[in-house]
């Protein structure tokens, strides 16, 4: 009897596929995407560099005159020195912190603002949806760079204010995505079941709809990170970004632009770092989209 049961269990295990959660399935598929995997490794490396820069940089990032001005890359200064003799590598490491804080911080705030608005608009529909959609469209009509620059001028050029300025100009995509997801999910059977069992709207929104829309939200946020990093770099390039002595990749490139012919490394180093980071986030975003969307199985 005991033997028969064991045989039956083994046979069942052999016949049924391994039970996997959405996340483990997504991870399995992400691992198969080589570009996404390389991008992930690069981003992990970047995070490690940014964390290390909290406690160690080869030289103090704001120390002027520690190398000959415009010095090219050398053993002592791997990425050379800038126009006032600061070590480019040290500043690049600290600049990675700025980029990651802006990129991730912005998307967390975008989620905090856009998701509730999208949930409310998609779930309640009617006049509330009309009003919120109108507001979203109004924000789409405002030139984002101009608004961000005005906000930074008014609030002052600090890292926090730059993040706020980017959020103000970039929350609409997330809200619109969430609205669409909510509209689709609210008609599904499990939501009707929750409603029938007496669940309150807040529980339905945040306990049932939100978790089921998490995949698209993550993908959207992942694509939003490089956009925010680029936006910050652009503001810093224009001189209204992060203020000295804190380096940003955008301001580092801006500082070197007048010496492009004489000392190209000052522009090239932060520009390459910026490009690789943007590329990595975009590859990761692509990979996550493929991994989290079952309809796009290869």
């Amino acid at each position: 009897m005991a033997t028969a049961t064991t045989t039956a269990q083994v046979s069942e295990a052999e016949i049924l596929p391994e039970q996997q959660t959405l996340w483990s399935d997504a991870w399995r598929r992400l691992k198969r995407n080589r570009l996404a995997l390389v991008a992930t490794i690069y981003l992990v490396f970047l995070i490690v560099v940014a964390l290390v820069a909290l406690v160690y940089t080869p030289y103090r990032m704001s120390a002027v005159g520690i190398a000959p001005t415009y010095a090219p890359p050398s053993a002592a200064h791997w990425f050379g020195a800038d126009s006032i003799g600061r070590d480019v590598l040290s500043r690049l490491m600290v600049g990675a912190q700025v980029s990651l804080i802006v990129g991730v911080g912005t998307q967390l705030l975008v989620i905090a603002v856009g998701v509730p608005i999208g949930l409310l608009a998609g779930y309640y529909r009617g006049w509330l949806d009309s009003v919120l959609t109108f507001i979203i469209n109004v924000f789409y009509g405002i030139p984002d760079l101009l608004v961000a620059m005005i906000m930074v001028f008014l609030l002052g050029p600090s890292l926090t204010n730059i993040i706020v300025a980017i959020v103000v100009t970039r929350w609409m995509d997330m809200a619109r995505l969430m609205r669409g997801q909510t509209m689709s999910l609210r008609e599904r059977e499990f939501i009707e079941a929750a409603r029938a069992s007496g669940a309150k709207p807040a529980r339905i929104l945040f306990g049932h709809i939100f978790p089921n829309a998490l995949g698209p939200i993550i993908v959207q946020a992942t694509f939003g990170v490089p956009a925010a990093i680029l936006f910050e770099a652009f503001l810093s390039f224009l001189g209204v970004g992060v203020q000295p002595p804190t380096p940003s990749w955008g301001s580092m490139a801006s500082d070197g632009i007048s010496a492009l012919e004489y000392a190209p490394h000052i522009v090239l180093v932060p520009s390459i770092a910026l490009s690789l980071t943007l590329l990595a986030f975009n590859f990761l975003g692509d990979g996550l989209r493929d991994a989290l969307d079952p309809r796009q199985k290869r």
Partner: protein, 583 residues
Amino acid sequence: MTPTSVRFLKALCVGMASFLTLAACGTSTGGGGGLASNQTLKFPIIGDFGTLDVGMIDAETDAEIAQNLYDGLLRFDNNLNIVPDIASEVPTPSTDGLTYTFKLRNDVTFSNGDKLTAKDVLYSWNRGAALQGGYAYLMGPIVGYDVVSKNKKSGAALESLLEANDPSVTMSGLTAPDGPGGYTVQVKLTAPAGYFLSEVALGAVCFWIVDVNAVKQSPDNWWSSPSTLIGTGPFKMTAYTPKQSVEFSAVPNWWGTPKPTLTKVHLDILQDAHSAITAYEQGSYDLYGFGGYSNAPIADILRIQSSGTEKSQLLLHPKVRTTWVSFNMTADSSRPAKGPFLLSGGQSAHDLRMAFALSIDKTQLASVVCHNIVCQPATGGLITKGLAGYLGDDQDPLAKFDAGQAKTLLKGADPDGSKTKGLTYTYDPNNPLNKDVAVFLQDQWQTNLGVHVDLAAVDHSAFIKARLKGSYVLARDGWQADFNHPQDWFDSLWGTAVGCPDANCTSGYTTPAYDAAVKKADQEPIEQAIPDYQAVSRMLIQDVAYIPLYYSVGAFLIKGYVKGAGTNAFFDYYWNQYQIQNH
């Protein structure tokens, strides 16, 4: 291939080689001897004019252009001697030092053909005093200036008053003894002023002569139109597209000497020094750095210095500009900035100012920021090296670097760090050097004092306006001498004479002792006044009224075929001395 073809190919190769050799010779920038048939000079300026109205000019960049369009009674020559211009000779003051009589040349004409007489001088000077432009205060010594300086009218209303010789716009000390149509102008001063002739010779300000017939056609904007910009200079405006370009041509049969060789001067109005230099290198321009824009990016200078072909075209020349850091030293209702550096703060604030001064390594600043090329450490006081009133190398204790003493002073004056918390240094980033200096200062104060100072960049014109209203606790400051006399520094920057503490005064610094010492020195002949002015300079040092940073060096690029172009410490040589040779 047939032998004929081979011969043909050989001939072709030789021909091409010869052509390339000739072409290479043709691109040489050296002068080939003899005048070029095209005498058009081209160079860029960085940014448009503020104004070319001599009554309102207050920027070096405008003055450098205007000096070729207008004349004064006197002028400085290339060696900075005062020489006659419209006047037939340099006048000698009366024995009491109060009266100057100018004899005018009788052959001077405006570019529209109008003849210049004494009435034009009276009109131009009264107009300059009444307009109250940036340099009107230079007329302060003339009797009646105090009345005219109260004028609030401008444009057509002012022209009407001037035409009617209204007492409110007529300096009583300015007369034409031979009548308005004559050639004599007499000036009476309220007190002897040893610097008065230097002021009269100063380029492109209210002492220069304009044509009433041209001004009254468009009293507010006459200077921006070729038809009404009328002066007595060797060049006249022929085209002007704001923010794009401006063109001048030589005045035919000009009355002065030397007669201009250039027939045309074309200026492109660019926004960026680096692009301007690149365009110069590509052959679009004959000069760079002229027109008051000699602040070339250091990377470009280094690149050019390392270039075999262009190195000889680079001219580095000390300019009479000192740059320093200003403190806000007065707090009252009209000055928004407060801060810990006030004169009223007594010894504690004095020590704090001293700590901030001693914590900056000025030698390293000149080395790191300027590569010891575009500036040198300001160690000899406020007045730039080479000018009357310079204290001598290493004579300014504020220029010393002593991080240890700085820290001790800071500890005594601000033991808990509360006074130096939240300080901001404000600068104008339009000159790229200013940003690098700001970052350098921030690092020095952080490293040597442990004080974090925020940086704020404000666009140049807004920065200057706000600074002169006393809006900044710590700010970039500087002065470019107008003429070689200490009065130009001490009367223009501090003390009640310039408006301190509440107007035209960055720091708000003024003391009765300073006012009295400057007033005494101003009335003395230059030889006697120098020690007194140096005492005034030491007074500023004693009170730590500034942190000296550097003396500027201008960078110019001149193609080898442009002869006669150059600069002295104050201004570019006049265009009528330039020639373009074959090239």
